[in-house]
Structure formats: structure tokens, C-alpha cells
Point group: D5
Chain length 129, copies 10
């Protein structure tokens, strides 16, 4: 596996495909460039998903996140792009990407996008007291 | 685009209109005047919405917030006014405006107002454990 | 308007009666007397409501809270009394009063009471991810 | 009323029996003995209930909690015992007892038990935004 | 009972099998080895369950957790393995295992897996205001 | 001892007069009246002292604090008055009174006053790493 | 006293001029305009002082803070200006003004300035363990 | 070693007597009885010391703390007693005992006592930026 | 002024050179590349200084920070380089640069470097109680 | 460099030996075995030092920390051992090692040890307001 920024997302087989379960990843080291001004933007990205056959490999996810470093990207668009790439790579039952972007002009912005596989029904949550 | 306070809200096309997704903005720098006493009031405004065709442009939102600086406005009314203006500008599927106003007379006040587009049904939330 | 403690609650017309929306007030400066021992009790009161025709005026609410200062009042009873008075004054669609009382004998106590107007149905909450 | 540890729980008449409402008590000063080793255990107990005809009197609750000081009690059992005694004394519409026990062997344990009166239906919660 | 690491989970009889209730355990002292690199991984494990006939004995749980110290284990796999072992030992009505793993490559990962006994219906949660 | 508000401060003999040591008391339940407007003010009072022959008795301190409830008192003056009364009652080697008053007009105020007995030299503090 | 913004700072006589003591005020509602761009700046101002003959009157301090609302002011300059005005009004033994300005361009800035009266020596602090 | 409450404090030889260094222990599970009322008191005890020849053995410290469970003890006295016992057992260069007692009558109390060996000079603290 | 990354630091004249005072800037958006591996590093930089004739201009500081984005830099070296550049540009009486770098290999690192102008004596701090 | 646990600490030349400056490292992933019981202990280690000619290399520090995983070690001894090894490897002007060990028997323990090079005088700290 390379140690260069890369849009190629590696996967590995879901070790427990017979169960719906949750994987959450917190990625506080995201940066890209504002396509209007060329200035750096910073964000924390949250990834949550229910895997189907494949899980995202941690190191390739790191290289993928790195690949945005020199790319221009609007807040809303880049959140959807990450979701699309991650869905294409892992074909999950459910996936949610949250981008928490730093303050600009006194306003901070969070964008949250979800993908649900056709035909997948989320399990009824068990809420214990 | 001007750098003067302005009630004109700019928008840009929603980059992913085929999906219901969430945009949240936190605006801690809101101030207006109490219409009774003329004294300054301060608040943090939270904006949450599901865009339809248009998204609020960040810089124009900042100028819009600025436009309340010299205006008299009651807590309840100004929250509804912001919601109305933001709904008129972006025609969202759903929008919520929350105004958290600073302590007055030992009491702090929060006002929360929502708009839902006719015919729009909120997606069943996916609650992962 | 007086600046004396007063059980008279002033109201003003709801500026947006066509919408169900939320008003929250946090009142950390409540004190009354224990009817058994005569000793002071302290609490933080939370008021949440969906107004119908009338909203609680902030300054009169402060004078109302002040009026309990010299009155004997049990935790459970005083929470219900505040709810009854506030419902009588504003006839809200929904109202909740929460009294968080300070530690007594190593135990702290919270009492929460609600009123719902006959025939009012709470709106289905919109839970955004 | 005694000031000795006591299993006798005093009650007083619910001042508002026509309403379902919530009473919460936080009791950080619970201690008992481990029945296996005889060593002291410490916990914070949370009591939440919807009273019917009777409410728990605060001072007798304190004496009741005190009565466990010299008694051997397993985490799971003592939580159920407190629930049983409190249900027997007050016959509430609903009651929940939570025991948060301190770290033992690098593990901390919480036990939560509930009682619901036959035929009682919890009110549909009003979730305000 | 041994004081050696052990995969044998001891149980004791549920003292209140007639009730659905919750037991939560927080275990901040989990460590295993990465099967790829052999390097140590650290995690906090959360266990939540509704017991049926048997409860997990605290000391044997500690020895069980210890048994992973020298074993290679992927994040996703080890979470499922713990769930499988704990389900096999206690046959609970419901069980959830959460593994919160420390930062690797700037990313932290949480895995959450659940087991529900066939035919068991979670009680409708009582949500008090 | 009375259970009425009282300016009489009870003391008990310092059990360790041969040592300089510290006693701190945090009193979050202070309230008095503004002498200008008659309206209630609220504060948390901190008392720190090095006793000489006498220590402040806890229950009489509570009754003393209670005695300000119906008295008009400016922030700065009342802090000095408490210091003077406590010094007169206990003749400490050192005493500090801190009054943290709640927000008024968007400003919160803290007043800190100290007394040092003539000839008393504070011990050189031992600062451990 | 006016209820208009005003640079006139009112004072009242120090009730305890024979003692060095501390008064602290936290003022989270400061706003002015950037002299370069005309855009609003926001800050929290902290005032700490040892009064000599005069103390700052709370309401006039509020009107003074208000007077910056429409004035252009650099961060460093406005902090010094407030210090100069407050020193001129009260001639304190010691005064410190801290301006904590909100994030601009991803950077937040704090400016702290002090005045010490000629000949005044700060008391040796008494550090209790 | 016994597993009964015990006033006997075990020690072990300081492994590094040639150096002044710090040992801190936090003991949140202290309880004793009020000698006036017989009711339980609860505290967190902090122990900090610079050992000379001997260190406090952890398990015996636990049994020592346990030995106060059934003993009447005033806040100030019990803090000094623990200091005296710990000094007698370990003859440290320096020792500080802090007792943080829970709220009683709306007031919480902390007592801090120190012992310094004759002729021992605390090292000048190295304060790194 | 450019909006490109730039090592040129702009300054403006200190508005109050007759006083020693403090300016603090927190810069959470620093990123550079590891010179060994080429991978991105992230840090929060803190700048504290006592200006002499010149202050750092905020926007040019932002462009300066940006200039490290594509540069290889070790933690210790880059902290000293920033200090050197900022000292060269502003010739302050005192300056401290703190680099708080994100976790690598389970370890997080902070580097703090200071510059003091020859002959400058820091003012004796005034520590108010 | 190996990726096996190793007591060999690598160093690199201090890039700024002409200055006294601070390096801090936080290492939350320390584990060793209790020499008495053989059971795992966990700690967070803090390292702070003023380098002279050599700095600790981050990756070798990680392997060094790893080398304690299977070793029996008392809290006090292991803290001194780490200090001795790190001093031997880097010969710093000043070094402090802090071991924060997890709760055992309801008590948590912190050990702090320091080394100061003969003849090295810590710089007078510059305390900015
Ligand atoms: Ca955010
Ligand atoms: Ca709120
Ligand atoms: Ca609020
Ligand atoms: Ca409470
Ligand atoms: Ca717990
Ligand atoms: Ca818990
Ligand atoms: Ca995590
Ligand atoms: Ca987590
Ligand atoms: Ca305050
Ligand atoms: Ca304060
Ligand atoms: Ca700041
Ligand atoms: Ca305390
Ligand atoms: Ca304390
Ligand atoms: Ca750090
Ligand atoms: Ca740090
Ligand atoms: Ca600790």
C-alpha cells in the first residue's frame, strides 16, 4: 500500500456480515482549499456506517482524507463527495458522513449526509433505560 | 457582493438536491436592540435546514445577521422574522431557527421556530446504536 | 408595572399564533421557605411552553418568581402552583415547569409537571441527523 | 420521626394526584458491604417516579438509605431491593431505581430496574424542538 | 477462582429473572495486539445487557478481559468475539458490546455490536419528562 | 441553638491550634436585597481561613448567612461586613471572603476581601510538582 | 442616570478604602466596529481592580460598554482606551483590563493591559494550601 | 495482611530515598459518623507526600480508611488525625492531607493540614513554561 | 496585501509602547508535512508576546501560518522557526510560541520556546486574590 | 529501527541547544504487570524536559513504553526507572516524569519524579498577566 495521498479506498471483508452493527470513525485532521479564495479550510469528519460485505481499511482511509489537501472543495459538495466515494468502495447497508467545518466569518457550519441501501431497513433501536 | 449589513440573502444551488440532508450553522455574534428600552440584546442563533433547490450563502448570511444590529426586535418576533426571511430566500424542505438570548433580569430565554414545506415528509431517522 | 413582588403575571400577544413553536426560560434565582422548618430553600426553575394567544412577559415573570421569597412551599406543591398560575395567565397549548431544588440531607430533588391543552396534539418531532 | 437508620419509609399524600408528573432524587451517599468480602461498596442511587397517592418523604428516605450501611448486599440484588421497598411504600404509577457503583477491579457497574403499575400507560412524551 | 487471564466466564443466577432490567459495565483497561503489526492496541469496552437466567460475574469478566492482552485481534473482529463469548456464557435477552479504540493514524474507531434473543421483544421505553 | 436567622456566630475550639492549616467553606445559597431597588440579589460565598483559637460552627454559619435574606446590602459592602463579623467571632490568623454575585445588566461581579492578624506571617507554601 | 450609551463613568465611594481588596467584573456583551472594514467585532471584557477612593458604578459601566457599539476600534487600542477611561474615572491602586476577541481568520486574540498607581505595592499574596 | 478495617498502617521501603519526589493518592470512598448526631458523613480524602525512608502501602491504606466507618469524627479533627497517623507510620519529609466533605446544611467544607519534617527544606519548584 | 501563503510578516506600530502588556493569539489551523515521511502533521499554535515598537498584523500572520502547509518540518524545529521569524519581524520585549501537535503513535507532543529581549526585565506579576 | 518493544531509546540532536525550552509528551497507553499479583496495571505517563544536546525520538519512545508491557513493576519504582533511563539516554538539563496510575482498591495514585542536571539553574519564569 502506498503512503501517498490517494483516492483509492481499500477495503477488507466484513468479519460479521450476518449482523447489522455500527462502525464509527472520527477524523479530526481534514483540510482542503476553498475553491473561491484558494485558502485552507479545516474540518473534523465523522464516518458512521453499517457494513455489508466490506469495511473501510483504516490506513487507506487516512490516505484518502489526505488526498483532499490540495483540492478546492465547497463544504456541502465535499461532504457529499466523501459519502459517494465511501459508498462506491464499500457498498454499505447504511452510511452517514458528517463534516464539521471551522468558523468562517463568525459562523461555523456542519453538513450531514446519509446513504441507505435500497431495501435495507434499519433495525428497531433497543433503548435500554 | 457588498460588505454592508443587508437583508438580501444570497443563495447558491444545492449541490445534491436528490438527497434530504442537513446543514447546521451556529452564529454566536447576533445583536439587536430592545424595542422597549433601546438597549442592546445579544444572542447565539442556530440555523438547521434541509435544502431543496437553494442553500444559504455564508457571507450573505453574515451580512444579514449584521443587519439586525441597529434594529429594535423582541426575542420571539425576531426569531420568527429570521425564519421567514430564510424560508423566503431558500424555500427549504425543512428549517429550524433557534435564538438563545443572554440573561435579562436573572432569566435567560430561548425561542425555537420551525418551517416545514407542504407535502414534505421527514425521513424516518436511522438511529444507530 | 410595579417593581414589587407580585403574583400578577403580565402577558403580551403571541406574535406568531399560527405556528406551534417553543419558548424556554431558565430561572436560576428561585427561593422560598420550607413550610415545616421555615428555613430557606433554593431552586432553578425551567419553564418551557408552546404559546397559544399569549406569551409570559419577562419582567412580570421575574416579579412573580420573587413573590415566593417569603412563602412556605413544599417542593412538589410549589412546582404545581407555578404551573397552575402560568397556565391560568397564558392558556398555552403546552407547558412544562421543572423545579431543580438544592441538596437537602444529602439528596437533591427535581419535580417536573406538564399541562396540555385539551385537543392539542403535539407536532411530530422532526429529528435531523 | 427517628434519626436512626430505618427500613420504614414515610410517605405524604401526593399533592397533585390527578396529574402524571415526575419526581427525581439523586442520592450520592449510598454505602453498603460486599456480602462476599465484607468490604465497603459505594454508589450513587437515582430514584425517578410518577407518584400515585403517595410521595416518598425526604428525611425518611435518607434514613432508609442509611439502613444499608452495615448490610451485605450484591449490586444487582440491592438495586431490586430498594425498588421493591419503595414500590411497597408508595405504590407509584411508575418507578425506576438506578445504582451507579464505584470501580471494582477496573470495572464500574450500573444496575437499572423499573416497576410499572398494572394498567398504567405512560403518557406519550411531548418532545419540543 | 483463578487469578490468571482466562477465557472462562463465570456467571451467577440472575436475582430478578422475572423482570427485564439493565446491567451496564464500563471497562477502560482493555489492551490487545494488532495482528498485522504486533503492536499494542488500547480500548475502553462497554457492556450493556438484559440478563435472562445468568449474570456475568465481575471478577471473571476482569480475567476474561485480561486474556486478550497477548492476542492479535482486529478492532471489528475482537468486538464481535467478546459479544459471542459473553452471549454464550450468559444467554442474555439482549446484549450490546461497544469497543472504543484509541487513535491510530489520526483516526479513532468505535465498533458496536448487539445480540437479541429470538422472540425477545424490548420493552417500550418509559420516557419521563 | 436557634433555627432562626441570626447574626450571632457560634464557634468551637480549634482542635489543632499549634498548626497553621486551612478551612474552606463554599456557600451557594446566599441572597440579600439590593438597597437601591429592593430587588433580590443572589451570590455564592466562599470562606477560607487559618483558625487561631476558634473555628466557625457550621450550623450557626448557615443561620448567619440566612440573616442577610431581608437586608439591603451592596455587593462590596456586604462582602466586607461578612468578613468583619467572621473576624470578630473567630479572630483568625488569616481569613478571605469571596462573594460571587449573579449577572446584573449583563455583568457579573466578584468581590474578594482578606484579613490578616497583626504579626502573623503566612507559611511559605510548599509547592510539590 | 441616563439609559443612553455614554462615555461618562459614574463612581461611588469605596466602602472599605483602608483595605486592599479585589473587584472583578466579567462583561460578555462587548461589541464595536473594525475601523478598517466597518464590520462588527465581539469580545468578552474582564475588569479587575483594587479600588482606592472610588468604585465603578455597575449601571454606568454598562452604558460605557454600550458606547463602543458604533465606534471603530482596533483590538489593542480599544483595550488600552478602556483601561485609560476606567483609570481616569476611579484612580485605582491597580487595574487590569482583558479583552478576549472572537475568532477572525481562524485566529482568536486576547489583549491584557494593566495600570499600577505610582507608589502602590501589591500585597504579598497569601497562598493557602 | 488482614482484610478487616485496621488502624495499622503498613509501609514499604522508599525505592528512591536519595530524591525528593511526590506521591499523590485520591481516596473518594471515605465515610465516618458525625459525633453529634451519629449520622453518616462522606468525604474525598487527598494524600500528598514526599517520602523519606518509608512509603504507605496501598492496601493497608484502604483498610485504614475503612476503620473510620463506624467512628464519630468532626471534619477538622479527623483530618488532623489522619495526618498524625500517616506521619507516625511513614515519617515523611512532607505530607498534606485534604478532606473534602459533602454538603451539610447547604455548605460544603474542605480541611487541609500539612506536616513538614524539622530541617527539611522544600526544593525550589521548577516551573517550565 | 496578498492572499497567498507568505513568509512575509506584516506589522503595525504598537499603539501603547510605553506600557508592558500582553497579546495572545490562538491559531488552531496549523498544518505542515513530516520531513521524514511526507505525511501531514497538524497542530494548534499559541503566540504570546509583549510588543515593543511593532505588533503582528493578524491577516499576515494567517498567511504566514498558511506558508507551512507544503513544507517539511519537525515539531521542535518548526516551533523555533516560527519564534525566530516572529521575533525578527516584531523585535518584541518577550515572546513565547507553543506548538501543540496531534497524537502520533499514541503520544502527543507540545514544544514551547521563548525569546526575551536583552535587558528586558519582566514586570513583577500582580497576583490578586 | 525495530518495531519490537525495546529498552533502547533513540535520540536526535537538539535543534536549538542554545536555548532552554520545554518539550512535553503525553503517553496514555502505558501498561505493566503488578509484581506482587501479576495482574495488569495501566497508567498515563507525562514526560516534560528541557533538552541539552539530545532529544528523545518519538518512535523509540513508543517502543520503550511498550517494553514494560510484560514486566513486573511497582508504581513508585517504575516511575523512577523511566526517569533514569530517559536521563541516561538524553542527559537533559531538566526532566520530570509523572505516572498517573488507574484506581486500585478505590484509590488512585500519581508519582512524580524529577532530575536536574548539576549546575543547571532553571530560568526565572516569565508570568504574563
Ligand atoms: Ca459545528
Ligand atoms: Ca438552549
Ligand atoms: Ca438558554
Ligand atoms: Ca437535580
Ligand atoms: Ca458507572
Ligand atoms: Ca453510568
Ligand atoms: Ca472514539
Ligand atoms: Ca465514541
Ligand atoms: Ca462571577
Ligand atoms: Ca468569578
Ligand atoms: Ca482567547
Ligand atoms: Ca469542597
Ligand atoms: Ca476543594
Ligand atoms: Ca498536547
Ligand atoms: Ca498541552
Ligand atoms: Ca490521579
Amino acid at each position: 500500500m502506498s503512503t501517498q495521498p490517494s483516492r483509492e479506498l481499500e477495503t477488507f471483508p466484513n468479519p460479521q456480515p450476518e449482523r447489522d452493527y455500527t462502525i464509527r470513525m472520527r477524523i479530526p485532521e481534514f483540510t482542503c482549499l476553498c475553491p473561491k479564495t484558494g485558502q485552507p479550510d479545516f474540518a473534523t469528519i465523522h464516518l458512521e456506517y453499517v457494513p455489508d460485505r466490506d469495511c473501510v481499511e483504516l490506513k487507506s482511509l487516512k490516505l484518502y482524507i489526505w488526498s483532499f489537501r490540495d483540492q478546492g472543495a465547497f463544504h456541502e459538495q465535499v461532504t457529499h463527495d466523501m459519502l459517494s466515494d465511501l459508498v462506491a468502495a464499500t457498498k454499505p447497508r447504511f452510511m452517514r458522513v458528517t463534516g464539521e467545518f471551522y468558523v468562517r466569518g463568525g459562523i461555523d457550519t456542519t453538513v450531514i449526509a446519509e446513504h441507505r441501501a435500497p431495501g435495507w431497513t434499519p433495525p428497531q433501536p433497543v433503548v435500554l433505560p
